[in-house]
């Protein structure tokens, strides 16, 4: 009897170990999300304006709102999303292992990440770039005047490499000082141990607000690197990547055509493209595997791109910059809804 029980338990163990290997892994994340009735979205655990836990225990920020937009499009409810705060190191692993469905965590689109990591990018939702902050009293206007300056930078980041590349190409002498900790970097800047601080502009803007006299510091009107930040999906799941991409385009499109959270329900138009966008004609949703009114749901839930931006990033002092519709000279360009 004992032997029999032993054999049975070994068999059960073996089957339970092998079964997951045999399971069909080719189900699209889109179907998984629909079946689960819930989207799992990886975000930053604490980045002002982009992703943070609000006082009421709900996730807030620009990235979190795009997570809500995807949930609204796929499931018709912006609250059917669960946010997972992720560390920089584990974010890609979480995506590869399927722990999260989509990663919206300030991730720069680079060739290596696109090609080497098992990830696919959706259109960038925010174009960031590296800039410089200097005290007004130094009266510096352009990067060429930074020769001989002591420049503070965070250690081991692409920021450091970009700085060296730029200064070398301009033939300027400078003294970089690396800081492992961001807080120390800005404290040293305020104490005058470094003349200049360089980082992503979004960070400079957010940090300038916390300096003792924000008005005494200027952010130079130069951008020395491209940091396109956007959502990521797992490599090879085209159906899911399409859905996420078009959610992003939908927010662009709505701003281009002045469709807002307020007027979307009663928006009247003869424009056939807008009609297709709102789900009144055509079968845009069906083609993406989404409900007919998917785009409308996005706008009802979180508004168009401009509204998302103004709700989350304007309060922390970020200017729209290039993050404007192409019609206004920005980089946001929605592909046609056709």
């Amino acid at each position: 009897m004992r032997k029999f029980l032993f054999r049975v338990s070994v068999l059960v163990l073996a089957i339970s170990l092998v079964t997951p290997l045999l399971a069909d892994n080719h189900e699209s994340v889109l179907d998984k999300v629909k079946n689960r009735g819930k989207l799992v979205c990886g975000v930053h655990g604490g980045l002002p304006g982009f992703g943070f836990l609000g006082e009421d225990g709900k996730w807030s920020g620009f990235d979190a709102d795009f997570g809500r937009a995807i949930a609204a499009a796929v499931l018709g409810d912006p609250d059917k999303v669960e946010f997972v705060p992720l560390d920089a190191a584990e974010r890609f692993v979480a995506l590869q292992t399927g722990e999260i469905d989509v990663l919206i965590r300030n991730t720069t689109w680079t060739l290596s990440r696109d090609a080497e990591l098992s990830t696919d990018f959706a259109p960038p939702t925010f174009y960031d770039g590296q800039g410089f902050m200097v005290p007004k009293s130094l009266n510096i206007k352009s990067i060429k005047e930074l020769g001989g300056a002591t420049i503070g930078v965070t250690a081991g980041s692409t920021t450091e490499l970009n700085l060296t590349d730029t200064m070398r190409s301009l033939g300027l002498e400078f003294k970089p000082i690396s800081y492992a900790d961001i807080d120390t970097l800005y404290n040293s800047y305020e104490a005058g141990r470094v003349n200049v601080v360089t980082s992503d502009k979004s960070q400079l803007v957010a940090r300038r607000k916390d300096l003792k006299n924000p008005d005494d510091h200027v952010i130079l009107d130069v951008t020395i690197s491209k940091e396109p930040l956007g959502p990521l999906t797992i490599h090879g799941d085209n159906e899911w990547n399409d859905a996420v991409s078009w959610v992003v385009y939908a927010t662009f499109f709505a701003e281009e055509h002045n469709i807002t959270q307020e007027n979307v329900k009663s928006f009247e138009t003869d424009n056939p493209e807008i009609k297709r966008f709102l789900g009144e004609s055509g079968e845009m949703g069906k083609k993406l595997g989404l409900p007919k009114d998917w785009a409308k749901q996005i706008i009802i839930s979180v508004g168009n791109y401009g509204e998302i931006f103004e709700r989350n990033l304007t309060p922390i002092g970020l200017p729209r910059g290039v993050n404007k519709p192409w019609t206004q000279g920005g980089l946001l360009y929605s592909m046609p809804f056709r």
């Binding site: 836990l53 705060p85 560390d87 590869q96």
Partner: protein, 417 residues
């Protein structure tokens, strides 16, 4: 004339012990001590003045009531908060009954907990969502009836259960077995209750704040102890296979930083998992903390085992006790008693180590604190206030553990006989 001198009263030696005398003897007995005392007083004055003015004047404490909810439970949905209260009620019942049956230390602990609970129940301060400020603030509310019977009804129930079950449990020694069983079952019950089942589950990614810290610490402490004892016995085993495996395990784990183990658990382990199979992130952290602490625990226990004279074992064998019986009833009780301070030290270290899991993206107390001051644009520059609160919370729990261990030592007469 001589007689008069004799009858003169001889004063007793000056043994007065008034505070003035004490000061004279201890602080102002020589000129250099007087100078030192003066310096120390001036120094203390400035320290206290600084602390006082920071705590009561400079510090902007509004960050605490505004974020109180997430500091306690993280992103746990507020509409499911009753689950946490049910768990607390269960623990209150168990604690009340235990206090009634065992008295002594358990009773003292329960009294302390009830006292803290009572303070929270009666203090007429209320966290109110302030529509103007857009965040919650701490305000006086003298409507204490409303506070106790409405806003704090869950806490009231908790305290009522604790006190009620204490009176029920008094002298009911027959219940002992059931209570122990209840404590063992309380763990799975807690997990099931917090997670829920069916449609309305609260996934572990939403567990956070102090709730998660306490869960991680409790699981780690409860699980690492038996594992540590087994490893310690294993290392001393005469069977080479067991002894080798235990030794290798202990030395490997002790040779690796906890952070590395946590990273392995969160980054590398999932890559080895087959297909869609995912081990929950919180469970992974619990397992990592437990495995790590068990190695240290094993060495602490082994220290105790070595202190037991061989004669004890021989005597036990002479009266015909088997190995398990010798170990369980003769060796371990003495060995563990001898190393209580080391074991509790390990528990305290484990409790504080839970703060490291925020690095792998779990929002325990420290993670929440980081998120508030680093992420929420409303609360930039409130570092000190939030960190002071977090430090105070850690201190309270660690000191409580230390206090309990001292009492256990006193009850067992460690160091006396």
């Amino acid at each position: 004339m001589e007689n008069i001198e004799i009858t003169q009263e001889v004063k007793p030696p000056n043994t007065s012990k008034g505070p003035v005398k004490w000061l004279q003897n201890n602080l102002f007995n020589t000129w250099y001590n007087t100078i030192l005392t003066c310096f120390a007083l001036v120094f203390l004055f400035f320290v206290f003045k600084g602390v006082f003015s920071w705590v009561f004047i400079q510090a902007k404490w509004e960050v605490i009531p505004a974020n109180f909810q997430i500091l306690m439970i993280g992103p746990y949905p507020i509409e499911h908060v009753w689950r946490i209260w049910i768990v607390l009620w269960t623990l209150a019942v168990l604690l009340g009954l235990s206090a009634g049956i065992w008295k002594g230390l358990v009773l003292r602990i329960s009294t302390a907990i009830a006292g803290v609970g009572l303070i929270f129940l009666l203090v007429p301060l209320d966290i109110v969502k302030n529509s103007e400020a857009e965040y919650a603030t701490l305000e006086f509310n003298i409507n204490i009836i409303y506070l106790i019977f409405f806003k704090r009804r869950w806490l009231l129930g908790c305290l009522a259960l604790l006190v009620g079950t204490f009176f029920i449990g008094r002298n009911k020694n027959g219940l002992k077995k059931w209570i122990i069983g209840g404590w063992i079952l309380s763990f799975p019950w807690t997990m099931i209750m917090l997670h829920g089942f069916g449609e309305n589950t609260v996934s572990t990614t939403n567990w956070g704040g102090l709730l998660l810290t306490l869960l991680l610490a409790a699981v780690g402490i409860v699980a690492c102890f038996p594992l540590g004892v087994l490893l310690a016995l294993g290392r001393r085993s005469k069977l080479p296979a067991i002894s080798w495996v235990s030794t290798i395990y202990i030395e490997t784990v002790r040779g690796v930083p906890l952070l590395t183990i946590l990273f392995m658990g969160s980054v590398i382990l999932p890559l080895f998992m087959p297909g869609d199979f995912q081990l929950d992130k919180v469970i992974r952290a619990m397992v990592a903390l437990t495995l790590f602490s068990a190695a240290y625990m094993a060495e602490n226990v082994r220290g105790g085992l070595q202190a037991i004279p061989q004669g004890q074992v021989e005597a036990a064998q002479a009266v015909g006790l088997t190995y398990p019986k010798t170990t369980l009833f003769i060796v371990l009780p003495q060995a563990l008693r001898a190393v209580i301070p080391a074991i509790v030290g390990q528990f305290i270290a484990l409790f504080k180590d839970t703060a490291l899991v925020f690095i792998v993206g779990l929002l325990e107390l420290m993670g929440i604190a980081e998120g508030i001051v680093g992420g929420n644009p409303n609360w930039q520059g409130y570092h000190v206030e939030v960190y002071v609160l977090v430090a105070a919370i850690y201190f309270i729990f660690c000191y409580a553990m230390s206090y309990v261990s001292q009492k256990i030592e006193a009850d067992l007469g460690v160091g006396k006989h």
